[in-house]
Amino acid sequence: MSVISHTLNMETYSEIAQVEEFDSQQERELILRCQERDTAAMGTLVVQYQHWVYNIAFGILGHHEDAEDAAQDAFLSVWQNIDNFQFRSRFSTWLYRIVKNKCLNVIDQRKRRKTDPMEIDDSQPWVPLDTVTPEKEALRTEQSEMLHAALDRLKESYRTILILRELRELSYEEIAEVLNCTLGRVKSRLHEARKALRTELERIDW
């Protein structure tokens, strides 16, 4: 009996090791515990990843409350879909893909809110430079405000890839996993995004 269970464990271990060599042993155990509906393990995963999940969301959305909501929703989604994670990719890239999708949802909601005249849009995140209120100015440094304004004028796909590369420092392979595209696509899109940001920042007198 003990021999059988030992062999089984070894098989499971080698199978996981074969397909997933990126995540640490500790992280894998946390994920397996989450798959067994262990909320304490989920809490540990949240603590481990909240910094980057929040900052990626903030980089894409440019709004603290929206970023916090998107981050919470992303973790909830992780919990609800953790059984679908089969260790075929890095957990981090799987998680960041969920974060990116949650951010896209927020952007869609904003667009819908904007077209509804009955709705007062008080969550407009990327405030144009000439309408920055004193309170908001105090919250951000002038430079990051300018950068946010420039990022805002970019396409969402450009903003996302710049955040993943320059802020989170993901490799091209990891970005391809998050965006579900080819390495060639990552390479060309990143180049276009950098050129577009450069053009936007050249308009601003630093």
């Binding site: 603590v47 909240q50 929040y54 980089g59 973790f75 950068l147 990143l190 180049h191």
Partner: protein, 170 residues
């Protein structure tokens, strides 16, 4: 042309994602191209700027675990409330009311239509048909015969005779 081709690889060069052969080519080009050198410099500066956007994240653990409990504890309530919300939507209520009215009206006419009405309708049809037949000599097999009136025949005959007479005179 070469400048454009090389510039496309500048971003990957900056990220150290190029093969050694391509990397060497970009290196050579950078020695002679001011525009590409400036672009590369700007990429570097902008990376630093974006990296500075990192903020201290709020603690999300409690909020996430609360959301998990919320969804785990009340799945049935959630389903019921969704169902209730759907049932009481204005469009659902409106459609249901309209369909009910239509059904009631249809049932009323169906049950109150007297059967003899069919006979009356048939009678009416026959009457119309008979009249039409009577008024149309082509369809009629009773009234006026299809033959041309006798007078016409006489006239025709007379005319023919006159013509024949004229013919035989010659």
């Amino acid at each position: 042309m070469k400048h454009q081709r090389i510039q496309k690889h500048l971003s990957a060069y900056f990220d150290n994602e190029l093969t050694s052969v391509l990397r060497k080519k970009v290196d050579e080009h950078l020695r002679v191209c001011q525009e590409c050198t400036e672009m590369l410099e700007d990429f570097k500066v902008n990376r630093g700027r974006i990296a500075e956007l990192v903020h201290p994240a709020p603690s999300l653990k409690d909020a996430v675990l609360a959301k998990i409990r919320e969804t785990e504890n009340a799945p049935h309530e959630n389903f019921l409330s969704t169902l209730r919300r759907w049932v009481f939507r204005p469009i659902t209520v409106g459609t249901t009311a309209f369909s009910t009215v239509c059904l009631v009206v249809a049932l009323y006419f169906f049950t109150n239509t007297p059967t003899p009405q069919y006979d009356e309708l048939l009678d009416f049809y026959f009457e119309v048909h008979t009249q039409e037949v009577a008024n149309n000599p082509l369809k009629s097999n009773v009234a006026t015969p299809l033959n041309t009136p006798a007078t016409d025949t006489e006239d025709f005959g007379e005319g023919t005779d006159t013509l024949l007479d004229l013919f035989f005179e010659d």
